[in-house]
Amino acid sequence: MSSQVFSHSAFNSQLKKYYGFYAGGFIAFVILLAIAEQMGMSRRWIGYWFLFATIGLYAGIGIMSRTSEVAEYYVAGRRVPAFFNGMATGADWMSAASFIAMAGGLFLGGFDGLAFVMGWTGGYCLVAFLLAPYLRKFGQFTIPDFLAERYGGNIVRSIGVISAITCSFVYVVAQIYGVGLITSRFTGLEFGVGVFVGLGGILVCSMLGGMKAVTWTQVAQYIILIIAYMTPVVWLGIKHTGIPIPQLAYGYTLQKVTELEKKITADPKEQEVRKTFADRAAAGRAALANQDKAYADGKAKVEKDLADAKASGDAAKVAAAEKAVAAYPKDVVAARSIWQREAGLQARTGGPRPHAEAYPGKDEKARDTARLNFIGIVFCMMFGTAALPHILMRYYTTPSVQQARVSVFWSLFFIFLLYFTAPCLAVLAKFDMYSNLVGSSFSALPAWAANWAKVDPGLLNITDINKDGIVQWAEVVIGGDLIVLATPEIAGLPYVVSGLVAAGGLAAALSTADGLLLTIANALSHDLYYKMIDPSASTAKRVTISKVLLIFVAITAAWVTSLKPGDILFLVGAAFSIAASAFFPPLVMGVFWKRANKWGAIVGMLAGLGICLYYMMRTYPFFTNMGVPKMDLWWGLNPISAGMIGLPVGLVTIWIVSLLTAPPSKEVQELVEHVRYPHLAGDAVVSEAR
């Protein structure tokens, strides 16, 4: 025992030393690039340096950690200390959505966006109290492993494998999309090329060393992503609040934002722009209501203008009128899309959304629906967190049950650092825009705004609607991703920090993709192949098969990504709802209720998953547009929160069906007792027998 004490603590302090050097080295690398930028290195090269240096680094860690040992490959040898497992979980957890889209969501949605902040942190309470320590004591390799041992039989394992693959695959597509977006934006490579460069980094790492390599790479990625997220926020915070920890002081900035919102809402020039939009939207709706007539009238009008212009003999007028005739839509179908766009301007007539107000709405009913959907998202994100296989798997890798408990603490601590910063960033960026962008003259826009409006009109579009030469807030359209990407420039930092932010976003997307791909490949190789098809396969063969499957899955995922399916936020939300409905009930009841049995689990998982998928298919426009009959929302609950229906259905079904069928065998009941105690006399024998 004493030699073990020594080896664990020595390992731990060695790791701290290595990663300390590594973090210092990374900061030195950034400083060197900053100096190079001052000496005239081009932006494109800074982008390349960040891309290739960081991917090369991850690949290097992957090569150093290569292994073909089963326990090393699947669970990193079960010797990852709590602190480092916490960092690895943080990186595993925080995806492109957390890093790039979240602050933007908070910027646009105000209070409503906080549902994701709460859901993606509070879920760790469920992991800590209900799952992590028990799964660690169980101590196998995958989540379907636990379900199969606890409930017995290949049916449960198969449903587990299918659910694990479904939710991980949906989620990994969203990550690879993020990888492609970041690499293409910061290096100018094409989206498709970007996807495959990133994929190369993911594969070298996870294929050679499985969980072992992924763990140590994720720790490295966490360090990069947190440095990248904090640097510009701290800078912007000093600019607006005067202290380097703006997270504590932005309440007063929020008050100023609220003041400015009132000012903008009341400003006559702003109202003029909103009125213009309201009129255009009304005209668009009118045209849509009577399409043939609107088309004929519009056509007659441009033709009459041309005739008038010709009669007046003014050459410039004639040219303009001829242009209008040529630009007029060629048929009603073409005109319809223009009218629809005009009618959509209704969304811009409302004035700034009050940032801190909870559940705004036109009447009591709208406000209550907003509240229900806020709670629905919190609920699904929390229970989904506690059921995503790639996260739960991480708690198999700690040396002991107690370390697993402590590790959840560190995980959430490291996640918390980013998540309590995102709302602060949103408020600071909003304050900056309200005070520096609004009211500036179109001929002298702030440098970052001029730059981004030119580079990417999808993220920032400013048009002088009322032709007064001054920017009104109503004239600005912002894409959510802009906030994180443009913060370094808003804060007036050199381009090297923008490169750093891109590297951070890439680290976030790659680390999550690594963990997910490994989960899918392990479910296929361990659960499907080894446990169900060929139980006599040698360990070397199992690991080889896992590696081959990993490549196959990665390429399939990249291919699906290149089709650019649907809305990323919905994909992520769907993965959480699916995980919450299918996994949470059988996992938790498996530990806390001995009486839960095989048939309860089977029917419960199918019922939970089924109702969740049914609700999404019948209500989400992507499916209903493909011909699935549409139905009304239940209590106004959005399709992304389908898990709020699926999870309770799953729990109740397991309960009822278990009680109606025979209790589980004595061995299973003993297994439940076994996982409930960190150590029982006789445990060693049990774990060797397994």
Partner: protein, 88 residues
Amino acid sequence: MQLTEKHQEYWRKNLVYTAILLLVWFVVTFVEAWYARELNSITFFGFPFGFYMSAQGSLAIYVVIIGIYAILMRKLDLKYNVDEGELE
């Protein structure tokens, strides 16, 4: 192995800890979100209180209660002799 009365007691205490901490979790999450509008009329360090809780307060409480759980369970393991030895 056959579980003793002491083992049963350990598990019961574990359930009590879990239930209390989950209650805290439930209150700072769902009760807080339900009354966010009302809480927003209180000002806390410049923040509307409902906004503050959803953006920071509840998150910090999550971190703290997970830490408390780890410490309490460590003590309970040692007291009931079901700990795993010095594997730190």
